[in-house]
């Protein structure tokens, strides 16, 4: 089951993240991460994984076959935790969101972007109950709203910044909001009527529509955002050019070359991985700035 993660710090967490990053910087100053006993450690959140061991085994098999790397997976509940692990060198790479990269432009570097439906781009969706009569965010006022992760672009930043643009206060527009720490959970929360609406990754939503149509059928898309750079696989900037990382990048770009790689792409409903283009995350930066401007 393919579900992508993104991680970007909300404004409320910036202070803590900066402090944490600072600590990490002191502890492991600009050091290229060495491969520990666990091999090449790849950080993920349950937003993406949810115990899909079959997919992980395929990726592991592909990376071993294509790059000779022994891949180890490290899972945490939130983006924040995975970002922290990456910054302190506990993991060598992580599948994150564009937002944290923009938060730490000098500390983290995008290594590869998934290509979905021909382009390394995705949207954020606002979803609601399937019989809900709503055409946009304005119609969702007073809802119980489900976000994905406070560091997620599509699962939080887009909706919050959109509300700011509307002159609304994100914390007051909805009667109640909560984080589910997973895009699939946002869809479940709306489908089960725990929430009346939710902010969700458009790629995850479309992938779910194929894999769990009965779940998605209980919801409908109310609004689609502009396109953003797809959540990238990121590495610490200091280690971005090590042989190991280069090997890992080659393995990602050559997913089509092996059977397990092709099977993993099929499960993820992705076309492949591509090197990041300059300005891939500019549209996220615009939204980030909008939220920051509000203070």
């Amino acid at each position: 089951m393919g579900r992508m993660t993104e991680g970007i710090a909300g404004t409320g967490f910036v202070t803590r993240r900066v402090a944490l990053a600072g600590m990490a910087a002191c502890a492991v100053p600009a050091r290229a991460p060495a491969l520990g006993n666990g091999g090449f450690r790849f950080g993920l959140t349950p937003v993406f994984l949810d115990n899909d061991w079959q997919l992980l085994e395929l990726i592991r098999a592909h990376v071993r076959e294509a790059a000779g790397l022994d891949l180890g997976f490290v899972q945490r509940r939130t983006y924040k935790e995975v970002v922290a692990l990456l910054l302190v060198g506990e993991i060598e790479a992580a599948w994150l969101c564009g937002w944290p990269l923009l938060q730490y432009p000098s500390r983290m570097t995008p290594l590869a972007l998934p290509v979905w439906q021909g382009a390394p781009l995705y949207q954020s969706y606002l979803i609601a109950e399937e019989d809900r009569d709503a055409d946009g965010l304005a119609d969702l006022r007073g809802d119980i709203h489900a976000y994905s992760d406070p560091d997620s672009n599509s699962g939080y930043l887009v909706t919050a910044s959109e509300l700011v643009a509307m002159g609304e206060r994100p914390e007051a527009f909805f009667s109640r909001s909560f984080f589910t720490f997973g895009h699939r959970n946002v869809v479940r929360a709306v489908a089960r009527r725990l929430a009346q609406s939710g902010s969700v990754d458009g790629y995850v939503y479309e992938a779910l529509a194929v894999m769990e149509p009965e779940l998605v059928a209980r919801t409908r898309v109310v609004w689609r955002s502009e396109w953003f750079g797809f959540p990238p696989v990121a590495v610490p900037s200091a280690a971005s050019d090590t042989p190991t990382v280069r090997q890992f990048a080659r393995a990602l770009f050559g997913m089509e070359a092996t059977g397990p790689g092709r099977e993993a792409l099929r499960l993820l409903q992705l076309d492949g991985f591509a090197p990041p283009e300059p300005g891939a995350f500019d549209s996220i930066a615009v939204r980030m700035a909008r939220l920051a401007d509000r203070g």
Binding site: I144, A146, S175, F178, F179, N185, L194
Partner: protein, 469 residues
């Protein structure tokens, strides 16, 4: 029930008791099952609450709605027989913190009603076989109450288990009851065999009781053997008594004649003197035709009288048997026998036969003669010297009324049962009163004691009379 034979009634009773026993046992088993289910449910509920406290308590202060929901959702989607189907956490202000059924209980909605309808787990009792039970408990974290956790359990598995148990008990009890009732039937039949044998031997209805043949007597001194021997002894005693009664009745028939003997001797003796004189006269004056004729006349009258007396006596002695119909001649005979007795006592005899011969002919002569003779002789004895005696026969509608009157003191109280009832008679007393009663009853009649308009005692015998009026 009482109409049923004992051999059926006792097994039925045994079967009924088995049914009652089965019902009581079933009730006990079901009550035990209910208690066990209640314990099971309370333990399960307690376990769930403990598990939820551990899992949810840290999440409540953080308001981690999704994690709480996910937990409750997984809890209520478990696929076990006895499972929570809905779980809702309600804060101290009565608002929903989170529910596994957000459609019914959205976040922040008022849920006082839900809490009020739930039973506290510590006071939980599962009496009713409800398919769903709602239980609540206070959720605490580090000693601080966080709210009420309300869990609805699907108890349909328990209900089904009860239904299964009830069905199994019903069928089992039915089978056991039938089996035991059948066994009880056979056992009781076997136990009752001596009783049914006795009932058969007693004959019932018209057949006379029969003794049990010696060959059928069980050996030894068992209860059945003693019962059979006692029964046989009773039958023997009954036979002997019947024989004695028959002998007594026979004797009573002759007693009346015996009582007449004096009168009869007198009746025979009286004309004898005159007849002997006539014979002497004939011998003395054989050549005097007028004397011979007169003596012959005298002899003829005397001999005729004797012939009548002898015939009447013979008729009476011939007994009560025979089917000869009653005729006026029989009554004439009786008058011949009674009149001298009355005359001897200086009594006035009123003899009134007003019933038609056709009415009399419907009755047998023997028994009626015996009845009239016994009652009339008793009347003569009771009336005393110079008293009055009467015999009357009248037809009243379809019955013959025989009345025997006397001016005596009346039938003594102690003798009345002999005439008026079938109560056993004490030996002695005689006078044929019981014979009279037995004869009257055998003719389909009845006896009563009355007093005439003139103040005479009267024994009235009513007999059926078939002839035309």
């Amino acid at each position: 029930m009482r109409r049923l034979p004992l051999a059926l009634r006792v097994p039925l009773l045994a079967a009924g008791l088995m049914v009652v026993l089965g019902l009581v046992a079933s009730q006990l088993v079901l009550a035990g099952l209910a208690r066990s289910q209640e314990r099971q449910l309370v333990e399960l509920a307690q376990l769930e609450f403990d598990g939820l406290t551990a899992a949810l308590a840290p999440l409540v202060p953080r308001d981690d709605v999704w994690e709480m929901f996910d937990h409750l959702d997984r809890l209520t989607r478990r696929d076990s027989g006895l499972r929570p189907v809905e779980a809702t956490l309600v804060d101290p202000l009565g608002r929903v913190v989170v529910s596994s059924h957000p459609e019914a209980w959205p976040l922040g909605a008022g849920a006082q009603a839900l809490v009020a309808a739930a039973v506290p787990v510590e006071a939980f009792q599962y009496h009713a076989a409800a398919p769903e039970v709602t239980v609540r408990a206070v959720l605490t974290h580090q000693g601080r109450p966080l709210g009420q956790m309300v869990i609805a359990f699907d108890a349909s598995a328990l209900v089904a288990e009860r239904a299964r148990a009830t069905r199994a008990l019903l069928l089992g009890n039915l089978a056991a009851t039938l089996l035991l009732a059948g066994a009880a039937w056979l056992a009781v039949r076997r136990l009752m065999r001596p009783m049914t044998r006795l009932i058969d031997q007693m004959g019932g209805g018209s057949a006379p009781p029969q003794a049990i043949p010696l060959a059928d007597l069980p050996p030894g001194d068992g209860e059945v053997g003693r019962l059979y021997r006692s029964y046989n002894a009773m039958i023997r005693a009954l036979d002997e008594r019947n024989a004695a009664e028959r002998r007594l009745a026979e004797r009573e028939r002759f007693v009346s004649l015996g009582r007449l003997a004096g009168t009869l001797a007198h009746e025979v003796n009286n004309p004898l003197g005159g007849l002997m004189n006539a014979v002497d006269t004939l011998r003395r004056y054989p050549d005097r035709p007028e004397v011979v004729t007169g003596s012959a006349e005298l002899l003829d009258r005397g001999l005729r009288h004797l012939r009548d007396v002898v015939r009447a006596t013979l008729s009476t002695q011939r007994g009560t048997e025979g089917e000869a119909p009653l005729s006026p001649l029989d009554l004439q005979d009786l008058r011949v026998l009674i009149e001298p007795e009355a005359e001897r006592n200086g009594q006035r005899l009123d003899w009134a036969v007003r019933a038609a011969p056709s009415c009399l002919a419907g009755l047998p002569a023997g028994p009626v003669r015996q009845v009239v003779l016994n009652l009339a002789l008793n009347a003569c004895a009771s009336a005393g010297a110079g008293g009055r005696v009467g015999v009357s026969l009248d037809r009243c509608s379809d019955r013959l009324r025989l009345g025997v009157q006397d001016s005596g003191p009346g039938l003594p109280e102690r003798l009345r049962p002999r005439l008026l009832s079938d109560a056993p008679v004490e030996p002695g007393g005689g006078q044929g009163l019981r014979l009279v009663r037995d004869l009257v009853v055998s003719l389909g009649g009845r006896v009563a004691l009355e007093t005439t308009a003139e103040g005479l005692n009267e024994v009235v015998v009513w007999l059926p009379c078939a002839g035309a009026a």
